[in-house]
């Protein structure tokens, strides 16, 4: 049976992991390769590295990070943050990434999604969507020219540039469009829930998961193991991305998997470490 995935996310700034971590037996808490190795051993099903460096010259640093991590870790790697062109995609894949996550660049130039999928296959194109609940009146924002404006039924709006820029796009419609363009997976972050540790936005996760035929990774808001369970059941997510819950040592990935397995969610058991 296909198992539900638990994906630790590591924020990288200028080549260093910047969030705190729970690992006690660690020499260098900022080294991406060492952290990747530990998360792999703990039972992480994939790894996501997000480059949060604002400058554009961080690309070379990130390529080097991906190369060093993929030398040591034999599970899938996704890289996101600042990938703007097909050439950027190619460099990350050649460095050892299995997938790239496109966010702002995909909204601003959707052809990046289709060109990337055409050249490298849709399995390696993840479209990341930062969505925020629509609270006030819609239609005040000039929508981007994707013909997916917010309307009276819209419940979530797409934001870009790390959540700083409103786009006027309906998040559910954009997810559907992204898959039509060639996205093989959607990485969905609720901006309302992110950082609050009060649970995923289950309505958002379910709405997107039902709207698209590709896997959806839920992100933003996990604070307890119950939250992970809800994302898979109520939220119908195929995978969960989590940062704080693992970084700050609240729970280990192993504990999360034991808990989920105990509640009937299929997860990959930790492998015997006989080979390392």
């Amino acid at each position: 049976m296909l198992t539900k995935r638990i994906i630790p996310c590591l924020d990288v700034d200028a080549g260093r992991v910047v969030k705190g971590t729970s690992f006690v037996d660690i020499r260098d808490a900022g080294d991406p390769a060492e952290l990747a190795y530990l998360y792999d051993r703990e039972g992480g099903d994939e790894l996501v590295f997000l480059d949060i460096t604002a400058s554009s010259d961080s690309r070379d640093t990130m390529v080097d990070v991906v190369r060093r991590v993929s030398d040591q870790v034999f599970i899938p790697l996704t890289v996101g943050g600042g990938i703007r062109s097909v050439e950027d995609v190619r460099r990350m894949l050649n460095a050892g990434a299995d997938k790239v996550s496109l966010n702002t660049a995909a909204v601003n130039g959707p052809s990046l999604v289709s060109d990337g999928a055409d050249q490298f296959g849709n399995q390696c194109i993840v479209v990341a969507i930062d969505a925020k609940r629509v609270t006030g009146p819609t239609g005040t924002q000039e929508p981007l020219p994707q013909d997916l404006p917010l309307d009276g039924d819209s419940r979530w709006e797409v934001y870009t540039h790390g959540g700083r820029t409103r786009t006027g796009l309906d998040a559910v419609k954009w997810a559907v469009r992204a898959v039509e363009l060639g996205a093989g997976e959607i990485l969905l972050t609720s901006m309302d829930a992110d950082g609050h540790l009060a649970g995923y936005d289950l309505d958002l996760t379910r709405a997107i998961s039902q709207a698209v035929p590709v896997p959806v990774i839920a992100s933003g808001g996990a604070g307890t193991l119950e939250h992970l369970f809800e994302a898979f059941t109520d939220g119908q997510a195929d995978a969960v991305l989590a940062a704080s819950i693992f970084h700050y040592g609240t729970y280990s990935i192993g504990e999360a998997k034991d808990y989920l397995a105990g509640r009937g969610i299929p997860v990959r058991p930790r492998q015997a470490a006989s080979q390392s």
Binding site: L2, T3, I75, G96, F120, G121, Q123, P215, D238
Partner: protein
């Protein structure tokens, strides 16, 4: 063994060759990465990876003149490992773009059923159906990493050494003598995936010993 086995990884610009190379290196193989067909006749083993579109991959193989050399290599009976699309391309035809494949394994490549999330992406279990050196030491129902939208359906089921369920049961490991192939990515499947590479290396060593023996 005094001299290194010549292990060729076929590079036809389809997918993450680097991960396959690193996995081979981690079990002690220094592969030659090449798309040059003239390297195949002298190879002790061939690894045939691949992701993405089947028809595009077939065009890439044709334009590099690799189709006939790949068929001849497999006919020689030396070890051959196909991975993901590298399994699918061995069959006769694929529903993906209704295209011809290499025609090495009788059967076809079919689309995963409607109503499921596609690609089939993530860790799924493999039920071992038949003993084979490639699967030595692999526990029953081990989890491997899959990413694909189509699956191989060989017409001869006796060589289906491992099967996996996603809407339908499908062939996740094909193993017939030295011709072996997996639908999953062993280089992305953690420790149990590296066992596959180690087992393939054992197959290579056995095959070379046999060849050297017959010469002597």
């Amino acid at each position: 063994m005094s001299d290194q086995a010549k292990v060729v990884v076929i590079d036809y610009q389809s997918g993450n060759i680097r991960s396959v190379t690193r996995a081979l290196e981690s079990v002690g193989v220094s592969p030659l990465i090449t798309g040059d067909p003239s390297e195949l006749p002298g190879a002790d083993a061939v690894v045939f990876p691949g992701v993405g579109s089947g028809p595009a991959a077939m065009s890439a193989l044709e334009s590099r003149g690799l189709v006939a050399p790949l068929r001849e290599y497999v006919e020689s009976g030396r070890p051959f490992l196909g991975i993901c699309l590298g399994l699918q391309l061995l069959l006769d035809r694929t529903e993906e773009g209704d295209a011809n494949c290499l025609g090495i394994i009788p059967g076809s490549v079919r689309r995963l059923p409607e109503g499921l999330k596609v690609p089939h992406m993530g860790w799924n279990s493999v039920t071992v159906q038949a003993e084979h050196a490639l699967l030595d030491g692999i526990p029953q129902n081990s989890h491997f990493y899959f990413v694909h939208s189509y699956y191989a359906s060989p017409s001869e089921s006796s060589w289906v050494a491992g099967s996996t369920e996603y809407g339908v049961p499908f062939c996740s490991v094909y193993a017939h003598s030295n011709l072996v192939a997996t639908q999953f990515h062993p280089e992305k499947s953690g420790p149990v995936g590296l066992v596959i590479y180690r087992n393939f290396l054992s197959m290579i060593e056995k095959s070379r010993t046999k060849t050297l023996g017959s010469v002597a």
